[in-house]
Structures are given as structure tokens and as C-alpha cells.
Amino acid sequence: MDSSASPVEDDIIQESLEYESEKQEIAEAVEGSNFEYLFLSYARTNNPLGTQQGRNLCILQLDLDFEIVERDQFLKDSSSAAVVRIYGVTESGSSVLVRVHGFRPFFFINCPVNFDPVDLPTLKGCLEKRARELTSVHKCQGPVVRDLEVFEGRSLLYFVPNDPAVQYLKITVALPTHIRQLAQLLERGDVDFGRYERTRYLTFEASVDFLLRFMIETNMYGCSWIELPSDKCQFPKKQTSHMQFEVDIHYTDLICHPPHGEWLRTAPIRILSFDIECAGRPGVFPEPEHDQVIQIANYLTETGKSEPIARTVLTLGSCAPIAGARVVSFNSESELLEAWVSFLAVTDPDILTGYNIVNFDLPYLLNRANVLRLSTFPFLGRLIGIRTKMQDTRLSSSAFGTHESKSFTMNGRVIVDMLQILVRDYKLRSYSLNSVSFEFLGEQKEDVHHSIITELFHGNENTRRRLAVYCLKDAYLPQRLMEKLMSLTNYMELARVSGIPLAWLLSRGHMIKVVSLLHRKGFAEGLLIPDMKNAGHNSGEEGESYEGATVIEPKRGFYNMPIATLDFASLYPSIMMAHNICYSTFVRKSDVQYLKPEDYIRSPSGDCFVRPTIRKGVLSKILEDLLSARKIAKKELAEATDPFLRSVLNGRQLALKISANAVYGFTGASRGKLPCTEISASITAFGRQMIETTKSLVESKFPSSEVIYGDTDSVMVKFRDELTLEESMALGQQAADIISQSFPKPIKLEFEKCYFPYLLIQKKRYAGLLWTKTQTYDKMDCKGIETVRRDNCKLVANVISKVLEKLLIERDVQGAIDFVKRTISDLLQNKVDISLLVVSKELSKAAADYDANQAHVTLYKKLYQRDAGSAPSLGDRIPYVTIKGRKDQPAHERAEDPIYVLEHNLPLDTEYYLKNMLRKPLERIFRPIIGDKVSSLFEGEHTRSITVTTPSTGGIMRFTKVSVSCLGCRTPIPQSENEQPLCKYCKANEASIYEKILGNVREYERQYAMLWTQCQRCMGSICQDVLCSNSDCPIFYRRRKVQKDLQDASKQFQRFAIHSSPPAW
């Protein structure tokens, strides 16, 4: 059940970025800012390129873009042209900017009716004339239409009987922007071609991005090596970038190495991880209009080096030195920001990373510089004098959801925001840097709330140092995450496999990868990809949905026997290969009659595709390449010993798998580049049929067996009631082998695992103990049982995972029931730790903008009234618990700050937690097991004992008087014997009452010591107080609670001590 096989994949980027903006204005005479001298020791070492000695120059390409020039000095050509800039690193770590000249973009149209090649010059003239009428083309030096020629090929879409070659016109133009402009004219039929009748032309490949076009033409892949013959290189006189070397070359002289064999290696890549701190005002999240940037921490590393090149923090105001790091202090914020620009320019990193830098740090810095009117700041790219611009982008993708984001022109620096990577690739309960670091690095970091940051900033050099240490850690962690998760390696491999620049992987959806592959493969075979208007496909109305994958209705229950799982390996890719499903093999309904029946395959949904003997589909070929490359990568991985190579190969095989799975989604993406619902519908139809076939085959070949559930690419089989794991595995293997034979290659049914026992709750919701070998189980596998949802409190997740553990691993149904009862009893008796009951929601817009009454908003208003200064601000997550309130008081009004609850002993509404949070998920799990008895979990003896704490302030407490009471029976003790801990009746039991209180004291002391020493360790200092305010941490509430509990218990304890001070000697 592969998540990436979602039927509708529609990534669209709405970029306000226009090609025009690529023609960058160069700010006049921006002096290299005056702080560069501070950082010279971090500059790249000056290794000569060796071209003088006639060595070819090899560069690992990391990013590319292009510029528009009025005249090309290199070509000595005075017409407007696009020059592609490649940013890369040599093997020795030198940064090189390669300017590639001479490449002109092109596209295709179908030939006019009765076209005669002698008319080509006429047509070219007509087109040029029409183009010149466009105002936006006026500035173009030299001709717009550079070339017009006849191209023999075929359209990628549809197989036409007899497969005739068709003539197209290939139009080569001066600049990338002209492609769209001319294509639009031609599509509208707005060009007068003299003797040819005016008609709307079909355009092909006009929507291909210029850079992708360039890469396809030069056979260049993302993050691949390019070789520049030394005799073809020209070195410009004037340096235009911060990079070490600049080279000019003609595009035909480039040698691009596909990423195979020796060209799989990588070069030393410089990665800068940074973090900024801002001094916000009380109660308001920092805003660049008002709040200063006070520190910027930088952690600069190079791949392949174990030690960082620089650990530097730039601070506003003096800051005490930090061992192991360099502190550079400035007197003004403008200097601080300028110094950072110098730092970037000198250190020249290839990759910029950090945590949420795209949506916080970078925009903040740019906006802040704007507020400060700091004209020298926004030059963060690698080109001298090119201003960094920020744009809003919106990426909507069914796989990643809709994200609003920012994009930056940072020529040559690739922004890899670890937050974005994690959100894309991992499903987590919380994405705070803290919890992510704990999850992946096992490191907790101190969480300093932004209100404390300002305080520390206004302190002295030592408090600012404290802040700087914190800031450095925030810069260091993203780099560690990147290393640990091997994000850069994996993404580089993905760029290599799919053939697109690294930066596109992050800024665009899955589709661009398939587009690249399709173009590369198709163009090599002379197949042209038609330009589709969005959703303008002929197949039917917009929004027509086709049947999704089949789900065999689950037979719910708790199976205490092995359940064999038969999976189709890479289901959709293998269907496409097996049945040759492709754009280029798809036969129009009206054309089917002209084909021989043995030449095509009809899918269960009624669409026809020619057999590979007639023409092999491009998609099949792409998939075959990807999957066989994956096989090779996996084989190499098994043989490799070098850890670095292993990580590359593993990244590669993952990238290949992701890319293969993206192909199916591409065909179904209704708003994509080339949607074809017939293709995706056929694929799913085959899939459904296969699941059905498998079910009937299993049930007929293995009598008494039963398919209890099936979904998309797998079926769950119960062979017999009484069956050992071994027998079940043998039968599973046998079934997989037999049934595989009834499907065309490469479709393969695989047996990989058994579930034993298996709890089937409903479709897409199940849990089981997973076995791949008979000795030990592999893990507990849960699907669709939400334990990571954030709007639940942790108690729910904990109880459910524990219950599943008891049911599946220990197979102790009664134990699970007892556990649930005990938990419920603990909950009602107020013994559950408050941190497990906390729910937190983000205050994502101003309180007034929320329509409905939501708990966290109501609480926010309450907190704001209590103390505007410490109240959370926009963007903060507000943790709350639900307390008891007046009768009929709505739940949202009963939300309260957990710390406030602890300090005031407010009673929690434990029944609310039981009814609204625990009950439903538990019922779902237990119903298949104990049926209607499930309600007994929530009723009965264990729910009778209820403890409610007495609030220490407000309400009834205003009318009470504190008096000393007996610690044994709580009878008030008369004033006369006020010193006594016990009343005279309890006196006889003194020892046992003493012991009881002692028991509490000991337990709280133990907790106090454990919790507070842990915080001290996390914080990374033993001599300084803990400030951390990370409410995600399991310790946060407990350590506050234990202080209070211990103080209370100790007070009771002391009453005994006062009463009997040790005898004086």
C-alpha cells in the first residue's frame, strides 16, 4: 500500500517569478562590504584549476540559472541571448562559475496543411515580422526567430495505426521568453503565413523550462559532473561573482557525464547552517518592522570533513567568549547584518540550511534590512551586485499538501531548509526543532521562549553569551539533522536520477521529475510532448473521477493465527510495464478498428494500448530503466563497505523507487502537465482485477483458505485456523509463486510477511505483529490507528500503543483490559501526569479572526487578560488542559494553562478526557475482540473512585480558614497543641502515618533529582539555571509539579521533625 501511489497528483506552482526578472539589474558599484577581513580565514583555499597545464576541468554541478545579455562578448555576437550559469565545485573544493554560451531555446508546431519546405524562409520572415509587433520583444537585439526547420517525429500522445512519421516545424528563438509568446500567437492562429491558411497550431514542448531544455540538450543531469576541455575554456578578465573561478565556454563543448560509475562520486560541498535571534517585545512574536536582529550564528561545514570550518556567532552588543566558537560583536544592527553578508561572500557556501529559514530567518533578515534602509544587505547570492529578491510562492501538491512559502533569488546558493525536508519526508507529531532533534539525534535542546531572549539580550555580556550558545546550537542542529538523515546525499541522488537541478526538488512537486524523465526519453526517440492546456483533455468533463483502487471488504476481527500477506511488488510500475501502458501506445477509440486484435491490449476499463511488439511505451522504458538501475544500486549497496558510498547508494535506490512511483501519479494528475485519465484509470483497473483474481485463485487453490482483506497492492490470507507460523509462511510462499505465473511479467506477487496475531478494525485500519522469519517478530505494525495526531493528548497515544502491545505481543487480552481499567481508574483519581493530558494548538491568526469558539483561542484571551506581557503571541502553540467548570459550561471555556492548573491545584475534568478522548479509539480496538462487552471497560467498579483536587484559590476557598489538621485523620488540631502533627487519637499510629508521608517524600525526592539533573544536562551547563520552556518535553510539567509536590510533602514531614528535635547532648 504505497502512499506515493495516490491517484491524483497535481502539483502546481504558482510563481509570480517571471522570466523577465531573470534579466537582473546589477546594482552600481556595490563595494565589497568592509567586514570581509574578519572572515578571511574561512575562505576557500586557492587551488589552481590546472587548465593551464592542459588538464580538463571537472566540476560537480550544484545549481544553474541563466541571464539575458544584450550582446554576447564570448561569441562576439551582438544579439540578445540567454547565457546559462552553472555553479559548481571541483574535486579539490574550488568553486567555479561556468557561463555557457550559444544555446537557444526551441519548440515545435505541427506543419501547416500542404506544407512545402521551400517556403521555410518565408514562414520564418512572417513569424519574425509578427513577433516584432509584440511590445515585449522590442528590446531584443537581432532576430527573434533564429531558425526554422522541418523536424520529422511523432507526437508522444496516441499511437496512430501504421505509426506514420509526421513533419513538424522546429522553431528556435533568441530568448526563453519568446517561446511562450510565439507559442501563444501560434496557438491562437494569430500569425499570417502568407499563402497558408490561418489556423490554430498545435504546439509541442513549448512549456519546457529553458534550463530543463538546456539540460536535456546537453544530456546533463542534476548534481552531475561536467567536464570542460581546457582548450575550450576562456577566463574572463573581470570577476562577476564571489566564486573562486569563472569560465566561459560554448555549450557544444561541454562534456556532461551521466551519474554512473566513477561519476557517482561527490565533491567537497560547503554547507552553511545558520540561525538568527531577534529581540521581540513582550507578548508579541518578533516583527521585522520593530524588532532588532541581535545575533546570527553560523555553522559552516564541508562534506567529507569531520570538523566544521567555522562556528561563528555575530552578536549585537558585547558578548563573552565561547569556548570552541568565535564571537564577533558589533555596535549596531546594521553592522551586524552587513557583516553577515560579508561572511556569506567570503565563505562562499554552496548550500544554505537551517530550520525554517525559508519562512522565518531569511525573510526576517531581508525585511529588517529594508526597514533599516540597508542598501548593502540584500546581496546574498554568489553574483556580485545582484540583489536578492523574495517572492511568495504557493506549492500545492496532493502528496505534500498546499504550502505557502517564499522563494529567493540567491544565484548559486541552494536553500535546503531542514524543516521543509522533514515536513515532506517524515510524518511526526511535532516538527519543532526540539522534538525533531530528540527524535532523530537523541538530543534535547533548550527551548528559550522569545520573551526571555529579549531579557537575556538586555542583560550583560554573559547573558548575551548564554543566548549566543543557544543560537549556535540552533545553527548546529539542522546541520546534524541533515547529516544524520543524509538529506543532502539523498536529494542529490534524486536530482541525478530524475535529471533536474537540486533546488527544484524542494521548490516543486513530484511531477517535475517525471516531466524531466519523459522529455529525456521521449526526445531521444523523436517523440514530441504536446502542450496541454490545463484540464483541457478530450477525455471528458473536468472532475470526472475514475474508480480508485479496490478494497476487499475487510472481515473484521481479532485473528489469533498467522495471516499471510501477499504483495504485488511495485504494483503500478509493473502493471505499466506488463501491459505496455503509455501515452505513446494509447490508441484512440476511433483508431482501434484499424488495428489487428493481437496487436493491442484492452484494459479492464476499456482502453486500448498497442503491444510492445508494435511499439514499446516510453513510460515502460523509463520504468524499466529506473527499476533495473535500482536493482543495480541495491546490489552494489550489498557489496559496498565504505559508509559514505553506502549512503550514496542507499539514497540512490530510494530515489529510484520514489521516481518510479511518481510516474503513475503523473498520468493521473488532473491539473498536471500531461494528464491522461484513460491511462491512470486503466492502471487502477488492472490493479483491481489483479486483486480480485488473486483472491479467487487463492481461495480455489487452497481450500479452506480465506482472503480476509485486500487493499490496492496486497491481500491478507488466512489459510486455516490451526496453522503454525512456519506452515503459514510456506503456504504464503507457495501461493505467491503459483499466482505470479498467471500474471504477465514483470508483475510479481510476493510473499514477505505474516501477521500473527492480527487485529483488523476496518478498512485501512489494522494492527498486527509482523513476522518475516519464524524466530522473532520484526515489529508491531499499525496502520491507520492514529497515534501521532496532535489534537489528541499523549495519554491516548500511550494507552493505545500499550494496549496493542499487550494484545499483540503479550497476547494478553485480560491484561490489556486490566491495563485500560487501571488507566481509567488512574485518570479518574487524578493520578495521570498532567503532561499526558495536554493538548496544544497553534494560534495561527489573530484571536479576533477565529469564527468558532476554540479552546486555545478562549484560553489565549484569558491569558492575555491575566498578563499581557507573558501571554503567547501569534504563531505560538498554546498548550492547554480541560478543567472542571460550572455546570453546562462549554468545553472551550474550560481550557486552562497547565502551569496555572498545577500552581492552583485546579481540578481537571477527567470525565471529559475519558468520554471525549479515550473512549472512541479504545472501543474501536476492543470491539472486534470482546464485542459488545466493550462498554464494560468504561463502566463498573474501577470508575467509582474519583478524586478531585481542591483549588487553592478562588471559589469556595475564599470562605475557608486555614487551620492545622491532623496528618492522620485531618481533624483540626486545637490551638493549644498546634505543634503536634497528629491528633491524640492518631498518636498511637504515629509510625505508620509517618511512614506514609515519608513514602511520598522519598518518591518526590527521587523524581526531583532525576528531572532536574536531566534538564541541567540537556541545557549543556551545570553551573547555570535551567530556562528551557519546551512544553513538548515530557519533563517540562513534571519538573514543575514535583517541586510543588515535594515542597508540600516536605512541609508535612517537617511537622514531625519540629515536634521532636534531636536530643541535645
Binding site: T1013, I1022, W1065
Partner: protein, 455 residues
């Protein structure tokens, strides 16, 4: 004083007994709103001068002494001071426990003889910062050090930001007074871990012990010898049934909060009370609480409450004291503890849990560090002191004794021309051994009570 007035009647010798300064160990009204950082801060403040002067006498010549870590300069040979902190992968962590089992209210941390590993790193910290120590260029390793030790280090900061160690220096054993000499042999006895209520306990051994002390065992020689024993120290774990785990279990099993629950077995308390009463009628006793005894958990442990020992508490010859505890007997300073500090130091350094020699070395190190329990509070729970660190040793005891050790062991060390006796007192319930120390010579001997059931 003198023993035999007439044959058959021996009078027990008496000693001059003076309380040490234990007021800082007695917590009158503890507060818990503070954190642990203050205790390290105070410790460093108290020992900085000491370690500096000892370093200055160790490293003479042209050495740069850097007063605060933040003034450290890269590549310059210098001496720095601070508190050690050891980062250890195996160090039990409540966070690790939570991630293993998030439902657990407050998990019990695993306990084992050693938590050291090859990846342990040592960090030096002062009020202004911390720096990682690198032992590549010296003969020391991370494994001998303890978190919380105040130290001076000679070396230089490397370009990678570590501090490369050439040599180290501790504050050194503090000064001690030369005690007046004694003419006669007089003994004090140490016992620990009697463990009343332990399942493995052999009640007859305790009876023999009582008989011996009260002079009912053996011949006249034995009686005479016994009369020379002037005082008995019980170094913790008189009882045995308050293991943290059993306590935790009881707390968890408890279904309702209001039921008056008893955590300690009343029977054991009664037998302890009876045991003490019998002892007290023949010998004065100083009673330190230990890990297993019914008192608080954090160091310093408070004296056992009289209500637990109703009849023995009435004896004036019983001193219920704190753990740790100091006193002066015949002018000899005794510093006694129930052994948690030594155990914890074993767990977090390379020292062998079962080797008594190693344990004596740890005790000697404590004197050198001028600290009674450096690993508190990091791994050894202690009260969050905030005005001073009372565990800092201001003067050296003549006798430093730790209870509940795996075996008997002793070592005499010289300091400033005077002998200092280090003493490991074994656990009685497993060994049947008690230790006798001659106050005149500071030599000790072990005595074992054994019942040969075969005969």
C-alpha cells in the same frame, strides 16, 4: 577507665565523644523551588582558591593561569580551572526511559555496576563557559574522572575548540590537626548493612553479634577485648525493606489514595527497635541512616525519626545522626558515610565495583578532590543546596569510613606528617563481618560472625 577491677567483671572503656559540625547536614526547613546549578556554583567558588594554590605549587615557572574560561586564548599554554562534567552515553537518563515507555509516570532508572563506555567525554565548566577536554597527549583518560570534581588543568586550546590536557591537579588533601596520642588501646566498632528484614538474613548471626558486644560470648580474653570497644557506629541499612523499587511498586499498586498504607514492615521496625535497645544497654551507638532505611532519599539523609524506634530512642546513649556525619572521638576526627557516594563513584568511573582496593582509592581521591560526593547531584541525588556546598571538605578527617561496601578494606595514608585511615566496612547481612578500629594506632581488624550449620 581501666578494665579489670576484679576477675570476671569488665568495665567498658569510655571515650571523649564530640559532635562534629553537622548542622549543614540537618535540614530544618528545606525548600525545593530552586535548581541544582547553585550547588556547583558554590562548590567551584569554595574550591577555586584551593585548587589554584595547589596548582601554583605544582606547576612553578612561567605558566599562564587563566582566571575564567572565557579569557582562554587558543594555542597558548595555560592552566584553567573548573568543574568536570562527564558526558556518558550509558548514563541512565529519564528522557531515554520516557522515549522507551512514554506511559510510565516517572520511571525507575536502571542501576548497574558500571556506566562507562569508550565514548565518554569530559568537559570542564566554570561560571563562564565549558570546554571539551582532550586527553590524547597525556596519560590520563576520561574513565578515572568524576562529574562534579573541581580541578586545575594545564594544556592548550586546540584549533578545533577542545582543550588538550598535559597535566592535571586537584585541590589535594586538606590540612588536618595532629591528634594527641593515646596511651592505651581503645576500639570503636563499625557495622553496616545489618539489614533486618532481609530474606537472606541469618538471625542467629545478629544474636551472636549482640552476645559478643554485651560480653556474653567467648572466654575471659574475649570479654577483656570486648570491654576495650568503646563505641559502635552503625553505618546505615539497619533495615532492608525500603528498596526504591518495592516502594515504587507499592505506590503504583495502591488503588485508592485514601487508604492508610504502610510502606515499611512494622515487624522489622519493631525488631530493629528491639535490636538497638539490646545494644544500647551495653554500648553507646551512633546510628547513621543508609539507602534502605526509612528516612528521606536525598543526601544528606536525615536521622531516623524517634517514632520509628520508640523504645531505643529513649536511650541517651543512642545518637541518631545524619548520613554523612562527622564527629571527634578521643581527638580523632571521624567522617562517616553509608557508602552511596563510593558506590556512585564506582558506577561512573573505571573503578571495579567489587574491588575494595579500588574503593579505597576512590575514598582517597575524595580527600584529594576535597569533596565527599562529587557525583552529587548529577548521578547521586542530593538536596539542592543553594548557599553553600556542605559536602566540600574543609579539613581532613583522621578516619574516613564508608559503610555497605562489598568487602573489608583499609589503608593508611600520610598527609602532612599524620596518618589518615581509610576504611571500607562490609555489609553485615552478606558477610557477617564487623570492623574494629584501634584509635591509638589507627589500625583495624575485621571480625566475622559465622554459624557453621554443618556441625
Amino acid at each position: 577507665m581501666n578494665g579489670a577491677a576484679s576477675p570476671g567483671v569488665f568495665y567498658r572503656q569510655t571515650v571523649d565523644y564530640e559532635e562534629g559540625n553537622n548542622s549543614c547536614f540537618l535540614l530544618q526547613s528545606p525548600i525545593y523551588s530552586q535548581q541544582y546549578s547553585q550547588i556547583y556554583f558554590c562548590r567551584l567558588a569554595a574550591l577555586r582558591k584551593e585548587v589554584e594554590s595547589s596548582a601554583r605549587s605544582k606547576w612553578t615557572g612561567n605558566v599562564l593561569f587563566v582566571d575564567r574560561l572565557l579569557h582562554l586564548q587558543q594555542g597558548v599554554d595555560c592552566v584553567i580551572f573548573g568543574v568536570l562534567y562527564k558526558e556518558m552515553d550509558l548514563k541512565p537518563s529519564i528522557l531515554k526511559e520516557y522515549s522507551k515507555n512514554p506511559a510510565e509516570p516517572v520511571p525507575v532508572l536502571p542501576v548497574r555496576p558500571s556506566f562507562t563506555s569508550d565514548t565518554d567525554t569530559v568537559i570542564l565548566e566554570d561560571e563562564t563557559g565549558r570546554i571539551r577536554l582532550n586527553f590524547e597527549n597525556c596519560s590520563f583518560g576520561a574513565d578515572t574522572f568524576l562529574t562534579g570534581t573541581v580541578i586545575a588543568i594545564k594544556g592548550q586550546e586546540t584549533p578545533s575548540g577542545d582543550f588538550s590536557v598535559d597535566d592535571i591537579c586537584f585541590p589535594g588533601i586538606p590540612s588536618l590537626t595532629i591528634p594527641y596520642s593515646l596511651e592505651n588501646d581503645v576500639f570503636v566498632m563499625f557495622v553496616s548493612g545489618i539489614g533486618l528484614g532481609a530474606t537472606w538474613n541469618i538471625p542467629m548471626r545478629e544474636a551472636m553479634f549482640l552476645d559478643f558486644i554485651s560480653g556474653k560470648l567467648g572466654n575471659e580474653e574475649d570479654y577483656r577485648f570486648c570491654s576495650q570497644i568503646a563505641h559502635l557506629f552503625v553505618l546505615g541499612n539497619l533495615l532492608c525493606d525500603v528498596g526504591q523499587e518495592t516502594l515504587m511498586k507499592k505506590l503504583q499498586e495502591q488503588q485508592t489514595v485514601n487508604a492508610g498504607q504502610q510502606f515499611f514492615n512494622a515487624e522489622h521496625l519493631i525488631s530493629a527497635d528491639r535490636f538497638l535497645t539490646t545494644l544500647l544497654s551495653t554500648i553507646p551507638v551512633t546510628l547513621l541512616p543508609g539507602e534502605m532505611d526509612p528516612t528521606n532519599f536525598l543526601l544528606p539523609q536525615q536521622p531516623l525519626h524517634p517514632c520509628l524506634l520508640p523504645s531505643s530512642s529513649k536511650y541517651i546513649s543512642l545518637r541518631r545522626v545524619t548520613n554523612p556525619y562527622q564527629c571527634q572521638v578521643n581527638g580523632r576526627n571521624i567522617l562517616a558515610c553509608s557508602g552511596q557516594n563510593v558506590d556512585d563513584a564506582c558506577r561512573y568511573s573505571k573503578f571495579d565495583w567489587n574491588s575494595v582496593e579500588d574503593r579505597l582509592l576512590i575514598m582517597e581521591n575524595f580527600l584529594n578532590y576535597r569533596h565527599l560526593c562529587p557525583t552529587a547531584p548529577d548521578t547521586l541525588p542530593c538536596y539542592p543546596y543553594y548557599e553553600e556546598d556542605p559536602f566540600v571538605l574543609k579539613e581532613c578527617p583522621h578516619i574516613f569510613v564508608a559503610g555497605n561496601q562489598p568487602a573489608y578494606g583499609t589503608r593508611l595514608i600520610e598527609s602532612a606528617g599524620t596518618k589518615v585511615c581509610l576504611l571500607c566496612v562490609p555489609d553485615f547481612s552478606t558477610t557477617g563481618q564487623v570492623v574494629l578500629l584501634n584509635l591509638r594506632t589507627l589500625t583495624s581488624q575485621v571480625m566475622e560472625f559465622m554459624i557453621d550449620l554443618s556441625s
